[in-house]
Symmetry: C2
Subunit: 159 residues, 2 copies
Amino acid sequence: MIRLGKMTDYGLLVMSQIARSSKAELHTARDLAIKCRVPLPTVSKLLKTLLQSGLLASHRGIRGGYSLVREPHLISVAEVVSALEGPLALTECSTNVAGLCDLEPSCPIRDNQRIINQVVRGALEKVMLSDLIRPMSLAAIRDNRGNLVQVSLAPGRMQ
Amino acid sequence: MIRLGKMTDYGLLVMSQIARSSKAELHTARDLAIKCRVPLPTVSKLLKTLLQSGLLASHRGIRGGYSLVREPHLISVAEVVSALEGPLALTECSTNVAGLCDLEPSCPIRDNQRIINQVVRGALEKVMLSDLIRPMSLAAIRDNRGNLVQVSLAPGRMQ
DNA sequence: TCTAAATAGGACTGAATTAGTACACATTCA
DNA sequence: TGAATGTGTACTAATTCAGTCCTATTTAGA
């Protein structure tokens, strides 16, 4: 249905792992790799990216490690996804300077993308990291007003 | 931010093109290719896929062509995207039979995916094809109750 | 009944992207 | 000073995707 790269999956996994402990606690790349069962170099790469995006803080040197810069309920899935998928152009045309695209000035693709992006982004902004750290029991997310909304996890076509 | 393949973009474009005329009218692959400025073989491929997904009906032979099976306001973007992106496993693990994944039984990746998919799908189900066929002026989509909701198309980081 | 126009289906290829690895360097603390 | 840890860059292998081509089938009309 919607394609999140493997890296993004791992990233969410790593972030939730960090989110499970107290905010101040430091986690080394090695520890996270073991706990998440993801190869160390890959975790390391992820952590660097998340650091650069300002979602993590790092301490170097022996006894170093990574920690969240905010509480889990203040970090949205949208932020993590944005960080890892990059400021992504949906297709090359989104990055065109005006005039390059021969469908200009009323490029319908571009409009479609804008609409869809807006909708999807809005949806992901409502899911917070704290919603992901209860592995088995989540059945609701927060709506715009912070109220819990039922999420149907009914069996069925999952795409 | 979210990656829809080029094919999906084209697909939405083609679908909206068909949706612009009356439901009964037939459109040949050639016509659609010209109007959408997408290569004919590509359009042809798209149409076949959309046909198999039950979103289009076809008439063979000379004077043949494709038409929508439902009114544009009854076809959601989610349906078109599902049809074109395939019954997509977000990562390989979504298709595993139980036991293959060593993170079982409480695979957090899987749960994350389920949550995110649910949220995104819900969002895309609210955008109908008819919302895409007003290229320049769309500023609102329908919410769960069918009311128009403002969509902020403010300039800014578009991911 | 023949022909042209159109869909149907599958095989193939080149290119782009991504996941993952490796290595050299920098920093911190005991 | 040395060990543990993060930082940054470059590279490679694998996968996926977009796009093309070819051939069969169906239909309408001359």
